[in-house]
């Protein structure tokens, strides 16, 4: 009786979700990038970059400063002509159909582009007119967006009097004012405190909840941000995409899904490190002579066994952390260096 009641409910719930996923995958991609390259003289900022983004997807371009993320975004938003390759946004070529591309996209640049001498509302009013919004339609849209970014009560405030987080939210409200199909965000949380960052993340999720077909492409060098927000990420380094996929899949894709950090009371001798390697520790990072990090197969307790071995050899283990790998580890596994070192 109970099963009979639940089965149709499950069908209704999961069936509709699966249908949405299938339909989303059936829709033509919002963004297709094909071998896009940008050269500045001899310097190659982006080298044959290819990827595609589906409607409703949040796609992260992850990489250190200088990886080519901003250049890529500038090409896709028609602010820089590519040297070679092609890209289409909602089927429109970024070089030949710039007007159509500009109508389809919204951008939130790394720089603050709202005018500090205008109020929150005036900034949106000016931007809305550039997209042909006018009169009641414009004022309703402004109110709607300000409500979404939680700035409605500050609509009359000058932009220069907003905090960093609020200013960033205003930038995002401006980027989505005209209901773009593809939203580009270049380092949307750089320079924000943790609370403001979280506020921006929540807001982006809410924006997408409100518009299921809105595709968001964001660049970041914050792995936790990409992990939290993105359906898929591409890791860029020196202008090339190193790997692409869902964050979980990328992490699972590593043979070493567990990370251990051990700190001892004195420098760990080479002999001990070799002994720990012998039980399956790989990808060593020696932070200090007494603080090391390594990866291992998950679920085999290698981190704990390594700490035990060190204690047996007379070391005092001050600190032991065992955690699943992060995107930072994925980056490390591809480049051989930490993101923060890049």
């Amino acid at each position: 009786m109970e099963r009979g009641f639940l089965e149709p409910m499950n069908d209704l719930l999961y069936g509709s979700m699966n249908r949405w996923i299938d339909e989303s995958q059936d829709l033509p991609p919002s963004l297709e990038v094909d071998q896009l390259t940008k050269r500045f003289g001899d310097f190659v900022a982006d080298d044959s970059v290819s990827f595609s983004v589906r409607p409703g997807e949040i796609y992260g371009l992850l990489g250190p400063n200088g990886a080519g993320k901003t250049t890529l975004i500038r090409m896709l938003t028609t602010l820089l002509p590519p040297t070679s390759g092609a890209a289409r946004i909602r089927g429109h070529d970024i070089v030949r159909e710039k007007g159509a591309v500009r109508s389809a996209i919204g951008t939130v640049s790394q720089a603050v582009t709202t005018d500090e001498n205008l109020t929150v509302e005036e900034n949106l009013s000016v931007q809305g007119k550039m997209y042909g919004l006018w009169g009641r339609q414009l004022s309703e849209r402004i109110a709607q967006r300000l409500k979404q970014v939680d700035l409605l009560d500050r609509r009359k405030q000058l932009a220069r009097h907003l905090s960093g987080g609020m200013r960033r939210r205003l930038e995002i409200a401006r980027g989505v004012l005209h209901s773009p199909r593809v939203l580009f965000l270049d380092e949307p949380t750089t320079g924000l405190d943790p609370q403001s960052r979280r506020g921006v993340w929540d807001m982006l999720e809410e924006l997408q909840d409100a518009d299921a077909e809105l595709s968001i492409i964001l660049t970041t060098h914050a792995m936790d941000e990409a992990d939290f927000l993105c359906d898929r990420v591409a890791i860029l380094d020196r202008g090339r995409i190193l790997c692409e996929g869902a964050p979980e899949a990328l992490k699972r894709g590593l043979a070493t899904g567990e990370r251990a950090e051990i700190e001892t009371d004195r420098p760990i001798h080479e002999t001990e490190r070799e002994a720990i390697e012998a039980i399956g520790a790989v990808n060593w990072r020696i932070m200090t002579p007494a603080l090391v990090e390594f990866q291992s197969r998950p679920g085999e307790g290698i981190g704990r066994r390594a700490a035990q071995r060190l204690e047996e050899k007379g070391y005092r283990v001050l600190h032991l952390t065992i955690a699943p790998v992060t995107l930072e580890d994925v980056f490390f596994s591809y480049t051989g260096r930490a993101l923060r070192e890049s």
Partner: protein
Amino acid sequence: MLGILAICQRAYLTLWRQPVLIISTMLFPLVYMLILGNALNRQLRHIPVAVVDEADNAFSAACRTRVMALESGRGLVTVVFVADRESALQDLRRGLYRGVWILPFRLAPRGPAPAFIGDNTERFSYETLESALSQIWQEVSRGRGQESVATAVQLEAYPYLDYLSYLGPAVVCLSIFMGSMVSGGLQVIEDRMYGYHEGYLVTPISTGTLVAGHILAGSVVASLAGVLVLFAILLLTPGPAASPWSIAAATATVFLTALAISSVWFLLFARARHASVLRGMFGIINALLFFPSGALYPIESYPRWLRAISDVDPLTYGLEALRDLLLRGAPAQTAYPRWVFLASFTLVCGVLTKVLFRREI
């Protein structure tokens, strides 16, 4: 059209929120007019002149009386009678006097005549003094009872204008120049420097609309400054009474001049990225646009190469139209050819800017 409106709205609001800019835009030309207008008013006063009377006869007495009259009447000179010609000339060389007038021994209409030794380092005072003293001698030497010479007819076509009033239209043009620089040229560069321009470069408005919007935005603020200064001048300077029609035509001239000057700024900064470009070019542009326009001296006095600059300078046409309308009381139709030039100039600059404008970062 909405795009143009948006750019104008932003320029207007930005400037309105920075009252210092708009006040300085209007205040600078007015101060300029008051200082320069009074400094160059051509009404010389109290020029120190030494008179050495060596003749001591009836003719020299008549000369002395008339020089004294110059001092007490128009106040043109401050007369010092010096007995010794050598010491008078020494003091002239020390800068105590601008001129020494020597009435020589046996001064008479048939000679010897008075001698004027003037400080010609400054031509204007020299020529004024020389002319006034020559006139005195002519009057004295003609003498009583002699046949009088028919006086040439000399009439002024317009009511008397002092230099301050003459400078009025030039000051309106200067305020247009300043206003368009602050709201047009400077804003374009600031937008690029601070990244504001990214906000509109990624919008679907066309490059032509962007260029037109910026030119119009710059000219709206410049016109506002120009019109406010125009009305201030009409109140401040005792010029001929301007009719409502001539004021309306002057307002239209201000707007068209502002359009033309804004288009120059935008053309020059179509590709500039740093405010240092503006700082570096301001002096040159000021010299190239303001001075050749005939703002301070008549164009007829310029050498040929300067006349060529003047011929393509939009300020020349704006200024001439304003002078016709405000000083000469000419009908609005006289300004039409100048309006056509200003509109055509704006169009040419706008098209060139559209070609040069980079919609990229």
